[in-house]
Protein backbone atom coordinates (compact mmCIF):
# COMPACT_ATOMS: atom_id res chain seq x y z
CA UNK A 1 0.00 0.00 0.00
CA UNK A 2 1.17 3.52 -0.81
CA UNK A 3 0.29 6.89 0.68
CA UNK A 4 0.38 10.02 -1.46
CA UNK A 5 -0.56 13.59 -0.61
CA UNK A 6 -0.45 15.68 -3.80
CA UNK A 7 -0.66 19.47 -3.60
CA UNK A 8 -2.62 20.16 -6.81
CA UNK A 9 -5.86 18.75 -8.24
CA UNK A 10 -4.08 17.99 -11.55
CA UNK A 11 -1.56 15.82 -9.78
CA UNK A 12 -4.34 14.11 -7.80
CA UNK A 13 -6.31 13.35 -10.98
CA UNK A 14 -3.17 11.99 -12.65
CA UNK A 15 -2.47 9.64 -9.72
CA UNK A 16 -6.13 8.65 -9.43
CA UNK A 17 -6.36 7.70 -13.11
CA UNK A 18 -2.97 6.04 -13.48
CA UNK A 19 -2.08 4.39 -10.16
CA UNK A 20 -2.11 0.59 -10.50
CA UNK A 21 -4.80 -1.18 -8.48
CA UNK A 22 -7.38 0.51 -6.29
CA UNK A 23 -6.77 4.12 -5.31
CA UNK A 24 -8.89 5.50 -2.47
CA UNK A 25 -9.38 9.15 -1.57
CA UNK A 26 -8.72 10.02 2.07
CA UNK A 27 -10.50 13.16 3.28
CA UNK A 28 -11.25 13.00 7.03
CA UNK A 29 -10.82 9.25 6.96
CA UNK A 30 -13.66 8.75 9.46
CA UNK A 31 -15.45 6.31 7.18
CA UNK A 32 -12.47 5.03 5.23
CA UNK A 33 -10.25 4.06 8.15
CA UNK A 34 -13.11 2.25 9.85
CA UNK A 35 -13.80 0.35 6.61
CA UNK A 36 -10.11 -0.43 6.10
CA UNK A 37 -9.94 -1.87 9.58
CA UNK A 38 -12.74 -4.29 8.79
CA UNK A 39 -10.84 -5.45 5.72
CA UNK A 40 -12.77 -3.57 3.07
CA UNK A 41 -12.28 -1.77 0.79
CA UNK A 42 -9.09 -3.02 -0.80
CA UNK A 43 -6.72 -0.13 -1.37
CA UNK A 44 -3.33 -0.13 -3.08
CA UNK A 45 -2.94 3.63 -2.91
CA UNK A 46 -4.29 6.07 -0.33
CA UNK A 47 -4.62 9.54 -1.80
CA UNK A 48 -4.86 12.21 0.89
CA UNK A 49 -6.56 15.32 -0.54
CA UNK A 50 -5.98 17.57 2.48
CA UNK A 51 -2.77 19.11 1.11
CA UNK A 52 -4.26 20.12 -2.22
CA UNK A 53 -4.27 23.92 -2.51
CA UNK A 54 -7.67 25.51 -1.87
CA UNK A 55 -9.39 22.35 -0.72
CA UNK A 56 -9.47 23.49 2.90
CA UNK A 57 -11.06 26.85 2.07
CA UNK A 58 -14.55 28.24 2.48
CA UNK A 59 -14.81 31.06 -0.07
CA UNK A 60 -17.45 33.47 -1.37
CA UNK A 61 -18.29 32.61 -4.95
CA UNK A 62 -20.92 34.42 -7.01
CA UNK A 63 -22.96 35.31 -3.92
CA UNK A 64 -22.87 31.74 -2.58
CA UNK A 65 -20.21 29.65 -0.87
CA UNK A 66 -17.64 27.30 -2.33
CA UNK A 67 -16.64 24.78 0.30
CA UNK A 68 -13.45 22.83 -0.35
CA UNK A 69 -13.74 19.05 -0.18
CA UNK A 70 -11.27 18.85 2.73
CA UNK A 71 -13.03 21.36 5.02
CA UNK A 72 -13.97 19.67 8.31
CA UNK A 73 -17.32 19.85 10.06
CA UNK A 74 -15.75 21.82 12.90
CA UNK A 75 -14.44 24.43 10.45
CA UNK A 76 -17.91 24.80 8.91
CA UNK A 77 -19.49 25.22 12.34
CA UNK A 78 -17.05 27.99 13.24
CA UNK A 79 -17.80 30.01 10.09
CA UNK A 80 -20.37 32.48 11.42
CA UNK A 81 -21.36 33.98 8.06
CA UNK A 82 -21.95 30.58 6.49
CA UNK A 83 -23.94 29.41 9.53
CA UNK A 84 -26.04 32.57 9.23
CA UNK A 85 -26.95 31.83 5.61
CA UNK A 86 -27.19 28.02 5.58
CA UNK A 87 -27.93 27.00 9.17
CA UNK A 88 -29.66 23.79 8.09
CA UNK A 89 -26.71 22.53 6.07
CA UNK A 90 -24.24 23.32 8.84
CA UNK A 91 -26.40 21.78 11.58
CA UNK A 92 -26.69 18.62 9.49
CA UNK A 93 -22.90 18.40 9.09
CA UNK A 94 -22.36 19.18 12.77
CA UNK A 95 -24.62 16.26 13.76
CA UNK A 96 -22.02 13.85 12.37
CA UNK A 97 -20.32 11.96 15.21
CA UNK A 98 -18.52 13.55 18.14
CA UNK A 99 -16.21 16.52 18.67
CA UNK A 100 -13.34 14.27 17.59
CA UNK A 101 -15.15 13.17 14.42
CA UNK A 102 -16.07 16.79 13.65
CA UNK A 103 -12.38 17.68 13.72
CA UNK A 104 -11.92 15.48 10.65
CA UNK A 105 -15.17 14.57 8.88
CA UNK A 106 -15.92 16.39 5.62
CA UNK A 107 -19.20 17.05 3.83
CA UNK A 108 -17.78 15.67 0.56
CA UNK A 109 -16.69 12.49 2.36
CA UNK A 110 -20.17 12.13 3.84
CA UNK A 111 -21.59 12.45 0.32
CA UNK A 112 -19.07 10.16 -1.43
CA UNK A 113 -19.30 7.46 1.22
CA UNK A 114 -22.87 7.17 -0.09
CA UNK A 115 -24.54 5.89 3.06
CA UNK A 116 -28.35 6.23 2.70
CA UNK A 117 -28.34 7.69 6.24
CA UNK A 118 -25.63 10.33 5.66
CA UNK A 119 -26.79 13.39 7.57
CA UNK A 120 -25.47 16.22 5.41
CA UNK A 121 -26.85 14.85 2.14
CA UNK A 122 -30.58 15.67 2.54
CA UNK A 123 -29.61 19.17 3.70
CA UNK A 124 -27.38 19.62 0.63
CA UNK A 125 -30.15 18.37 -1.66
CA UNK A 126 -32.69 20.75 -0.08
CA UNK A 127 -30.17 23.58 -0.48
CA UNK A 128 -29.80 22.70 -4.18
CA UNK A 129 -26.03 22.39 -3.73
CA UNK A 130 -23.81 21.75 -6.74
CA UNK A 131 -20.86 19.39 -6.58
CA UNK A 132 -17.67 20.21 -8.47
CA UNK A 133 -16.11 17.05 -9.85
CA UNK A 134 -12.60 17.04 -11.31
CA UNK A 135 -11.27 14.25 -13.47
CA UNK A 136 -9.20 13.28 -16.50
CA UNK A 137 -11.74 15.02 -18.79
CA UNK A 138 -11.71 18.26 -16.84
CA UNK A 139 -14.20 19.85 -14.49
CA UNK A 140 -17.95 19.22 -14.33
CA UNK A 141 -20.60 20.61 -12.00
CA UNK A 142 -23.20 18.08 -10.87
CA UNK A 143 -26.39 18.52 -8.78
CA UNK A 144 -25.78 16.87 -5.41
CA UNK A 145 -28.75 14.56 -5.95
CA UNK A 146 -26.94 12.89 -8.87
CA UNK A 147 -23.80 11.88 -6.91
CA UNK A 148 -25.09 8.98 -4.77
CA UNK A 149 -26.19 5.96 -6.81
CA UNK A 150 -27.18 3.61 -3.98
CA UNK A 151 -25.72 2.27 -0.74
CA UNK A 152 -21.94 2.71 -0.94
CA UNK A 153 -22.04 3.67 -4.64
CA UNK A 154 -21.56 6.99 -6.45
CA UNK A 155 -21.77 8.08 -10.06
CA UNK A 156 -18.15 9.29 -10.00
CA UNK A 157 -16.10 7.79 -12.85
CA UNK A 158 -12.58 6.39 -12.65
CA UNK A 159 -10.08 9.16 -12.04
CA UNK A 160 -12.71 11.59 -10.74
CA UNK A 161 -13.10 13.11 -7.31
CA UNK A 162 -15.04 15.93 -5.66
CA UNK A 163 -13.00 19.11 -5.24
CA UNK A 164 -15.68 21.35 -3.71
CA UNK A 165 -19.36 21.75 -2.95
CA UNK A 166 -21.19 24.96 -3.86
CA UNK A 167 -24.03 26.42 -1.80
CA UNK A 168 -26.01 28.89 -3.90
CA UNK A 169 -26.51 32.54 -2.98
CA UNK A 170 -29.16 32.90 -0.29
CA UNK A 171 -32.22 34.58 -1.74
CA UNK A 172 -34.10 37.28 0.19
CA UNK A 173 -36.49 35.55 2.56
CA UNK A 174 -35.36 31.96 2.64
CA UNK A 175 -34.31 29.47 5.27
CA UNK A 176 -33.31 25.85 5.68
CA UNK A 177 -33.42 23.24 8.44
CA UNK A 178 -32.45 19.62 9.01
CA UNK A 179 -33.74 17.23 11.64
CA UNK A 180 -32.98 13.58 12.21
CA UNK A 181 -34.42 10.96 14.49
CA UNK A 182 -31.99 8.87 16.53
CA UNK A 183 -32.75 6.93 19.72
CA UNK A 184 -30.31 9.07 21.74
CA UNK A 185 -29.09 12.66 21.50
CA UNK A 186 -25.53 12.12 20.20
CA UNK A 187 -23.34 9.63 18.38
CA UNK A 188 -25.87 7.60 16.43
CA UNK A 189 -26.90 7.01 12.82
CA UNK A 190 -30.11 8.59 11.51
CA UNK A 191 -33.19 6.35 11.51
CA UNK A 192 -34.86 9.07 9.42
CA UNK A 193 -33.54 12.48 8.34
CA UNK A 194 -35.42 15.36 6.75
CA UNK A 195 -34.28 18.68 5.31
CA UNK A 196 -36.50 21.54 4.18
CA UNK A 197 -35.59 24.74 2.31
CA UNK A 198 -38.22 27.44 1.82
CA UNK A 199 -38.35 30.83 0.10
CA UNK A 200 -41.08 33.43 0.59
CA UNK A 201 -42.30 36.59 -1.10
CA UNK A 202 -42.76 39.83 0.83
CA UNK A 203 -46.37 38.91 1.64
CA UNK A 204 -45.26 35.72 3.39
CA UNK A 205 -46.37 33.27 0.72
CA UNK A 206 -44.02 30.39 0.01
CA UNK A 207 -42.70 30.76 -3.54
CA UNK A 208 -40.25 27.86 -3.68
CA UNK A 209 -39.63 24.77 -1.57
CA UNK A 210 -37.30 21.78 -1.55
CA UNK A 211 -37.81 18.83 0.76
CA UNK A 212 -35.35 15.93 1.03
CA UNK A 213 -35.50 12.71 3.02
CA UNK A 214 -32.61 10.55 4.24
CA UNK A 215 -32.42 6.94 5.53
CA UNK A 216 -35.78 6.00 4.01
CA UNK A 217 -34.53 4.69 0.67
CA UNK A 218 -31.37 3.36 -0.98
CA UNK A 219 -30.30 6.98 -1.51
CA UNK A 220 -31.50 10.45 -0.57
CA UNK A 221 -35.02 11.27 -1.82
CA UNK A 222 -36.04 14.66 -3.24
CA UNK A 223 -39.73 14.76 -2.26
CA UNK A 224 -41.16 16.93 -5.03
CA UNK A 225 -44.79 16.25 -4.15
CA UNK A 226 -44.03 17.43 -0.61
CA UNK A 227 -42.52 20.66 -1.93
CA UNK A 228 -45.58 21.27 -4.12
CA UNK A 229 -47.77 20.98 -1.03
CA UNK A 230 -46.02 24.05 0.41
CA UNK A 231 -45.61 26.38 -2.57
CA UNK A 232 -48.34 29.02 -2.74
CA UNK A 233 -49.23 28.62 0.93
CA UNK A 234 -48.23 30.46 4.11
CA UNK A 235 -47.13 27.11 5.61
CA UNK A 236 -50.38 26.92 7.52
CA UNK A 237 -51.92 23.79 9.04
CA UNK A 238 -53.53 22.39 5.85
CA UNK A 239 -50.24 22.85 3.98
CA UNK A 240 -48.33 21.12 6.78
CA UNK A 241 -50.80 18.23 6.78
CA UNK A 242 -50.33 17.83 3.03
CA UNK A 243 -46.54 17.97 3.53
CA UNK A 244 -46.69 15.22 6.16
CA UNK A 245 -48.80 12.98 3.92
CA UNK A 246 -46.53 13.56 0.92
CA UNK A 247 -43.35 12.81 2.89
CA UNK A 248 -44.75 9.61 4.32
CA UNK A 249 -45.85 8.61 0.82
CA UNK A 250 -42.39 9.36 -0.62
CA UNK A 251 -40.54 7.32 2.02
CA UNK A 252 -39.42 3.86 0.86
CA UNK A 253 -37.71 2.57 3.98
CA UNK A 254 -36.44 -0.86 4.88
CA UNK A 255 -37.10 -2.41 8.29
CA UNK A 256 -34.07 -3.14 10.45
CA UNK A 257 -33.14 -3.16 14.12
CA UNK A 258 -33.14 0.63 14.07
CA UNK A 259 -36.77 1.04 12.99
CA UNK A 260 -39.71 -0.61 11.28
CA UNK A 261 -41.14 0.49 7.94
CA UNK A 262 -44.26 1.87 9.65
CA UNK A 263 -42.21 3.84 12.19
CA UNK A 264 -39.85 5.32 9.60
CA UNK A 265 -42.73 6.25 7.30
CA UNK A 266 -44.52 8.02 10.14
CA UNK A 267 -41.40 9.80 11.43
CA UNK A 268 -40.57 11.10 7.94
CA UNK A 269 -43.78 13.13 8.07
CA UNK A 270 -43.27 14.27 11.66
CA UNK A 271 -39.75 15.54 10.98
CA UNK A 272 -40.86 17.27 7.77
CA UNK A 273 -43.50 19.26 9.63
CA UNK A 274 -41.05 20.34 12.34
CA UNK A 275 -38.26 21.15 9.87
CA UNK A 276 -40.65 23.20 7.72
CA UNK A 277 -41.63 25.31 10.73
CA UNK A 278 -37.98 25.91 11.64
CA UNK A 279 -37.13 26.81 8.03
CA UNK A 280 -40.10 29.20 7.91
CA UNK A 281 -39.02 30.84 11.12
CA UNK A 282 -35.46 31.20 9.86
CA UNK A 283 -36.67 32.74 6.62
CA UNK A 284 -38.02 35.48 8.86
CA UNK A 285 -40.91 37.81 8.28
CA UNK A 286 -43.16 34.92 7.38
CA UNK A 287 -43.94 33.77 10.89
Amino acid sequence: MHYVSPTTTDEAVRILSSAPGACRIVAGGTDLLVQMRSGMPEADTLLDIKRIGGLREIARDDGGWRIGAAVSGAELGEHAELVGEWPGVVEAVNLIGSTQIQGRATMAGNLCNASPAADSVPALVAANAVVRVVGPEGVRDVPVLDIPAGPGKTTLKRGEFVSSIYLPAKTGQSGDAYLRFIPRTEMDIAVVGCAVWLAFDAAGTCTEARVALGAVGPKVILAEEAARALVGTRIDEPALDALVAACSAAARPIADKRGTVAFRTHVAGVLARRAALIAKNRAGGAA
Binding site: M1, H2, Y3, S5, V26, G28, G29, T30, L33, V34, M36, R37, A43, L46, D48, K50, S72, A74, G97, S98, T99, Q100, I101, G103, R104, T185, E186, M187
Partner: protein, 159 residues
Protein backbone atom coordinates in the same frame (compact mmCIF):
# COMPACT_ATOMS: atom_id res chain seq x y z
CA UNK B 1 7.12 -2.42 0.74
CA UNK B 2 9.07 0.67 1.66
CA UNK B 3 8.23 2.52 4.83
CA UNK B 4 7.29 6.18 4.86
CA UNK B 5 9.61 8.55 6.67
CA UNK B 6 7.63 11.13 8.66
CA UNK B 7 8.96 14.25 10.37
CA UNK B 8 6.59 15.86 12.82
CA UNK B 9 6.27 17.67 16.15
CA UNK B 10 4.90 15.80 19.14
CA UNK B 11 4.21 17.66 22.39
CA UNK B 12 6.38 20.52 21.20
CA UNK B 13 9.39 18.40 20.30
CA UNK B 14 10.65 17.36 16.88
CA UNK B 15 10.02 13.68 16.22
CA UNK B 16 10.50 11.33 13.31
CA UNK B 17 9.42 7.80 12.55
CA UNK B 18 8.99 5.23 9.81
CA UNK B 19 5.52 3.78 9.22
CA UNK B 20 3.47 1.84 6.71
CA UNK B 21 0.91 3.61 4.50
CA UNK B 22 -2.12 2.11 6.20
CA UNK B 23 -0.80 2.45 9.75
CA UNK B 24 -2.77 4.68 12.12
CA UNK B 25 -1.29 7.52 14.14
CA UNK B 26 -2.44 5.65 17.25
CA UNK B 27 -0.35 2.59 16.32
CA UNK B 28 2.61 4.84 15.54
CA UNK B 29 2.36 6.63 18.88
CA UNK B 30 2.00 3.44 20.89
CA UNK B 31 4.09 0.89 19.01
CA UNK B 32 6.80 2.94 17.34
CA UNK B 33 7.26 5.90 19.68
CA UNK B 34 6.46 4.28 23.03
CA UNK B 35 3.80 6.89 23.81
CA UNK B 36 1.32 4.44 25.28
CA UNK B 37 -0.80 7.02 27.12
CA UNK B 38 -3.23 7.16 24.18
CA UNK B 39 -5.38 4.04 24.44
CA UNK B 40 -7.16 1.88 21.92
CA UNK B 41 -10.67 1.20 23.13
CA UNK B 42 -12.33 0.48 19.81
CA UNK B 43 -10.19 1.51 16.84
CA UNK B 44 -13.29 2.81 15.07
CA UNK B 45 -13.80 6.36 16.35
CA UNK B 46 -16.49 5.49 18.87
CA UNK B 47 -14.80 5.66 22.28
CA UNK B 48 -12.36 8.60 22.28
CA UNK B 49 -9.71 6.77 24.33
CA UNK B 50 -7.21 7.62 21.58
CA UNK B 51 -7.97 11.39 21.61
CA UNK B 52 -5.06 13.60 20.55
CA UNK B 53 -4.80 17.14 19.24
CA UNK B 54 -3.68 17.44 15.61
CA UNK B 55 -2.84 20.97 14.45
CA UNK B 56 -5.06 22.34 17.22
CA UNK B 57 -8.02 20.02 16.52
CA UNK B 58 -9.25 17.28 18.81
CA UNK B 59 -9.28 14.03 16.79
CA UNK B 60 -9.27 10.26 17.25
CA UNK B 61 -5.72 9.03 16.59
CA UNK B 62 -7.18 5.70 15.49
CA UNK B 63 -8.79 7.46 12.50
CA UNK B 64 -5.67 9.37 11.43
CA UNK B 65 -2.91 7.85 9.30
CA UNK B 66 0.58 8.09 10.76
CA UNK B 67 1.77 9.44 7.41
CA UNK B 68 -0.60 12.40 7.74
CA UNK B 69 1.43 13.74 10.68
CA UNK B 70 4.18 14.92 8.30
CA UNK B 71 4.90 18.58 9.10
CA UNK B 72 2.00 18.80 11.53
CA UNK B 73 1.86 19.17 15.31
CA UNK B 74 0.51 16.44 17.55
CA UNK B 75 -0.42 16.86 21.22
CA UNK B 76 -0.87 13.73 23.36
CA UNK B 77 -1.61 13.04 27.03
CA UNK B 78 2.15 12.77 27.61
CA UNK B 79 2.40 16.52 26.99
CA UNK B 80 -0.23 17.46 29.55
CA UNK B 81 2.01 18.10 32.55
CA UNK B 82 4.69 20.70 32.79
CA UNK B 83 7.49 19.13 34.81
CA UNK B 84 6.28 17.29 37.89
CA UNK B 85 3.16 19.36 38.52
CA UNK B 86 -0.12 17.78 37.43
CA UNK B 87 -2.47 19.77 35.19
CA UNK B 88 -5.51 21.08 37.16
CA UNK B 89 -7.72 18.63 35.22
CA UNK B 90 -5.53 15.72 36.31
CA UNK B 91 -5.67 16.87 39.94
CA UNK B 92 -9.42 17.31 39.84
CA UNK B 93 -9.91 13.86 38.28
CA UNK B 94 -8.07 12.42 41.29
CA UNK B 95 -9.95 14.56 43.83
CA UNK B 96 -13.35 13.70 42.39
CA UNK B 97 -12.49 10.03 41.86
CA UNK B 98 -13.36 10.54 38.20
CA UNK B 99 -11.64 7.32 37.17
CA UNK B 100 -11.69 3.67 38.05
CA UNK B 101 -9.90 1.40 35.57
CA UNK B 102 -8.37 4.45 33.88
CA UNK B 103 -8.52 3.30 30.26
CA UNK B 104 -10.72 6.21 29.23
CA UNK B 105 -8.91 8.79 31.35
CA UNK B 106 -6.16 9.99 28.99
CA UNK B 107 -8.77 10.54 26.28
CA UNK B 108 -11.08 12.43 28.63
CA UNK B 109 -8.20 14.61 29.85
CA UNK B 110 -7.00 15.50 26.34
CA UNK B 111 -10.58 16.21 25.23
CA UNK B 112 -11.44 18.23 28.35
CA UNK B 113 -8.28 20.31 27.99
CA UNK B 114 -9.25 21.11 24.39
CA UNK B 115 -12.71 22.15 25.63
CA UNK B 116 -11.38 24.49 28.32
CA UNK B 117 -8.93 26.10 25.91
CA UNK B 118 -11.80 27.33 23.73
CA UNK B 119 -14.57 27.51 26.36
CA UNK B 120 -13.08 28.39 29.76
CA UNK B 121 -16.52 28.55 31.39
CA UNK B 122 -18.57 25.70 29.88
CA UNK B 123 -22.06 24.87 31.07
CA UNK B 124 -22.64 21.31 32.18
CA UNK B 125 -24.55 20.70 28.96
CA UNK B 126 -21.69 22.04 26.85
CA UNK B 127 -19.22 19.82 28.69
CA UNK B 128 -21.44 16.77 28.26
CA UNK B 129 -21.91 17.36 24.52
CA UNK B 130 -18.22 18.10 23.95
CA UNK B 131 -17.29 14.85 25.71
CA UNK B 132 -20.03 12.74 24.11
CA UNK B 133 -17.41 10.99 21.97
CA UNK B 134 -15.52 9.80 25.05
CA UNK B 135 -16.92 6.62 26.54
CA UNK B 136 -16.38 5.36 30.09
CA UNK B 137 -17.52 1.91 31.19
CA UNK B 138 -16.82 2.52 34.89
CA UNK B 139 -17.68 5.89 36.36
CA UNK B 140 -21.13 6.74 35.05
CA UNK B 141 -19.75 10.09 33.80
CA UNK B 142 -21.06 12.26 36.61
CA UNK B 143 -17.77 12.44 38.49
CA UNK B 144 -15.95 13.17 35.27
CA UNK B 145 -18.24 16.11 34.51
CA UNK B 146 -17.88 17.43 38.10
CA UNK B 147 -14.10 17.19 37.83
CA UNK B 148 -14.05 19.05 34.51
CA UNK B 149 -16.30 21.85 35.75
CA UNK B 150 -14.34 22.15 38.99
CA UNK B 151 -11.04 22.31 37.09
CA UNK B 152 -12.52 24.96 34.82
CA UNK B 153 -13.50 27.07 37.85
CA UNK B 154 -10.05 26.75 39.37
CA UNK B 155 -8.33 27.61 36.09
CA UNK B 156 -10.49 30.72 35.66
CA UNK B 157 -9.56 31.90 39.16
CA UNK B 158 -5.88 31.39 38.45
CA UNK B 159 -6.11 33.86 35.56
Amino acid sequence: MSRIHVTTTINGEAAEFLCDAGETLLDVLRDRLGLTGSKEGCGTGDCGACSVVLDGRLVCACLVLGAEAEGRTVGTIEGMTTGEALHPLQRKFLEHAALQCGICTPGFLVAAKALLERTPDPTEEEARYWLAGNLCRCTGYDKIIRAVLDAAAEMREAH
